[in-house]
């Protein structure tokens, strides 16, 4: 997937979010660290330019909610979470780059519940690579990319939009 492809996918996802939620009322976009942060930022810009409204946004570090946080060899670094508003009655769109096992999303949903009781949570991802280990599905998908378990999929977004890319590598 090249820079143009990523851009078109995000534009389509933005329209889908607006269509599904009938506008931006009570809508909050929350990026999951680290891969979801810049995607969430771009989605927010698109949403607010389409609707002409300010979009609420936040970021979430799910490390402390991971199911393997104490069992991996190293303690993962903790980044800050920034959700400075209660999520009660809000429509939350979680944003991440790659949907894989679903474990990150499980952790993210648990974390969100500690910030209130959202009206609903939707999930937007740029890539769905399959191999789910939990019953999780995305509401908005850039591209479904069947992959082998031993492959790495990396989404590289930079300040230079033209260099954006999604790469599949043998690990």
């Amino acid at each position: 997937m090249d820079a143009e492809g990523i851009e078109r996918s995000l534009t389509r996802i933005a329209y889908e979010i607006l269509e599904r939620n009938k506008g931006t009322d009570n809508l909050i976009i929350i990026g999951i660290r680290k891969g979801g942060i810049s995607l969430a930022e771009r989605l927010c810009k698109k949403l607010s330019s389409i609707e002409g409204a300010e979009i609420m946004s936040g970021m979430l570090d799910i490390t402390l909610y991971r199911d393997d946080v104490l069992t991996t060899g190293k303690r993962p670094a903790i980044e800050s979470t920034y959700i400075p508003f209660p999520l009660d009655h809000k429509r939350v769109v979680l944003v991440d780059d790659v949907l894989f096992t679903g474990r990150t999303i499980r952790a993210a949903m648990d974390a969100l519940m500690d910030f209130g009781r959202p009206e609903l949570i939707q999930l937007a991802v740029l890539i769905d690579r399959g191999h789910r280990e939990l019953p999780v599905r995305a509401d908005f998908i850039g591209e479904t990319l069947p992959s082998a378990l031993w492959e790495n999929i990396s989404v590289n977004l930079t300040d230079n939009r033209n260099a954006d890319e999604v790469v599949i590598e043998e690990s």
Partner: protein, 324 residues
Amino acid sequence: MGVQAGLAMSGWRFKSTMNLSRKDMLGIIDLPKEEIDLILDTAESFKEISTRTIKKVPTLRGKTVITLFFEASTRTRTSFEIAAKRLSADTINISASTSSVVKGETLIDTARNLESMNPDIIIIRHSAAGAAHILAGLLEQSIINAGDGAHEHPTQALLDMLTIREKKGSIKGLRIAIVGDIAHSRVARSNIYGLTKMGADVAICGPAMMMPRDIDQMGVSVYYNMGDAIKDADVVMMLRMQLERQEKTLFPSLREYTNLFSLNRDNIKLAKDDVIVMHPGPINRGIEITPEIADGPHSVILEQVTNGVAVRMALLYLLSGGTK
């Protein structure tokens, strides 16, 4: 709040995945600068949890933390307990006055018995220097030193360093004055080790009889005049006059001490305009610091307490689980 503002506040500092190279947190003296940075970075991220409506994350679910306090404490013990609870650990508090210590049980027997109940982390405060080190050598569990005699109080130094870094951006190159009874102060000792490692210019001040004998080897400048010590300081750290540790012969007159070594509205003008004033608590109001300074605009004393919870959460997290 727009996303731009949100992202700008994130402070995208890259934090590497690394571990503490130790099972226990016994002192600052053998803690490398990189590990101090790791603990402070982690603590910075943990601060946000204490501002939530639901102030709890599930990370240490199923872990047991014991606080074993042979000396009085409200701040430190409560801070550790809150830190552990906000990480979902179970906590048990034992204080000497209500334990079998009053029946004559030795420290080592107490520790062996606690070990048999399979805790994960034991936090100890004791009046004897080296008490935490003894437990660390004997027990499999992670031991955190919450103060051992006049030796070290590592978590206090870490929360002080977090507060300074937050207020001043960095510790390197700052002029930091520590004033009071240095010889009896584990807070001073841990801070001297930590702040010099982080590149601060540390000035120590107090009566000559309250200077530790090894002060020459600590990489600090020593003053016996308060004005000289706090001149142009970025940070002034006042120590509690530990009346309970003073032998009467060392301490002729409290009023004389207050006249010479108390921080007040006159001598604070010698420090930089944006000086921050710190105190580990509990404060003896009117002895080492006047109430108007302790409660004044330069004071960050209560922010130190807030940061204490974050630093202790960071330590409990970094010392828990996995391969060491």
